[in-house]
Amino acid sequence: MNEILLILGMFLVTYSVRLLPFALAERLNFPYWLQNALSFVPVAALTAIIAPIIMYDDQGNFSPGLSNDQLVASVIAFAVAYKTKHLLLTVVAGLAAFFLLTLL
């Protein structure tokens, strides 16, 4: 295993993906439809990341019921976030709900 080659190669492919739009920022003039599409990126990405964590239990079974502490805490967090639009308040409420539920 050539460690130097591995790390350099991984650096090149990850950094170029992150850098490309930033580096070309002044020259990029996205068409209107693409600007509109990009406005959905945060919702699309963050929702897709958390969905399996919320809905599957530790054994990987689909768990949509009240016995799923992560799901119940997530619903509470969502209600707080939707109402208050406050990130840290949401986190505190969600974590408090989760740890209370796991204690029960």
């Binding site: 190669g9 850098l19 929702t47």
Partner: protein, 263 residues
């Protein structure tokens, strides 16, 4: 990020929404908002360090991967492939695909970094992660909602978040590598709930239109159906599905088609 007219984003030296905001205060705000995501990243950093050790990587290589590559999920895929003695080229290709979603993050942020000098943008790009993207997207939304006319100081907030993520990742890799299997399975600590609720805190306030809701519902359900796909391709696919379905439903193809409804 909705399209804005060019007169609205003239950089000005002060941020009207927080007139007293100094550089340390902005960096602190970025770090503070990232705290729950730091908590959730700790077990992964420690596990990565332990796995790097178990996979037979040298200490230098394990640390260098975290310091130079700095891409959590890609590093996990890479280390798993190292354990199966996969060829270097395959590992690099897998890394590329796992990290491809950052292209969309970077593209989303383009209009907010345009005014910054290229060296600064290059540094910011290196530190782009799911976590920093999430809190920065939230910050942009807050500035938009408070009718702030400029995001000129956004980069300090970004850097505060990114530096906190970066130093935490190095520290956890180090701990994991040195302590290795003496740490009981870090993923059982249940800390990923901190990331879940933080991401919910970012997403929920953005759900202000039918297309945004449709995007969330589509991404959510697609992610459940594709969570077993290899190399996180299910995640990328779910993102794209959400974006495409939401775009089609919003029917905003040209500025003229939605004239006057939004600024």
């Amino acid at each position: 990020m909705r399209p804005r007219s060019s007169t609205e984003k003239q950089p000005s030296p002060h941020c009207p929404s927080s007139p007293a905001a100094t550089i340390p205060a902005l960096m602190f705000a970025g770090a503070r908002d990232t705290l729950p995501l730091i908590l959730a990243a700790i077990p992964f950093g420690i596990l990565f360090g332990a796995l790097a050790h178990a996979a037979g990587l040298s200490f230098i290589a394990g640390m260098a991967m975290s310091m130079i590559v700095f891409a959590g999920s890609s590093q996990f895929v890479a280390i798993t492939l190292v354990m199966t003695a996969a060829p270097v080229l395959i590992i690099i290709l897998a890394t590329f695909f796992v990290n491809l979603r950052h292209l969309m993050y970077s593209a989303h942020l383009v209009s907010h970094v345009k005014h910054l000098p290229l060296p600064l943008r290059s540094i910011m790009a290196f530190w782009l992660t799911d976590e920093t993207f999430a809190v920065v997207a939230n910050r942009i939304h807050q500035l938009d909602s408070s009718h702030s006319v400029t995001h000129a100081n956004l980069h300090w907030y970004y850097l505060g978040s990114a530096l906190f993520m970066y130093s935490n990742w190095q520290l956890c890799t180090l701990l994991g590598f040195v302590l290795g299997e003496r740490i009981p399975d870090p993923l059982d600590w249940g800390l990923d709930i901190a990331m879940v609720v933080a991401f919910i805190g970012v997403v929920a306030p953005l759900l202000k239109s039918f297309p945004m809701w449709l995007c969330a519902v589509t991404s959510f359900s697609t992610a459940l159906l594709t969570s077993e796909w290899p190399y996180q391709s299910g995640l990328m696919f779910s993102m794209l599905m959400g974006i495409v379905v939401a775009s089609l439903s919003s029917r905003k193809w040209t500025p003229a088609s939605h004239k006057g409804t939004k600024t």
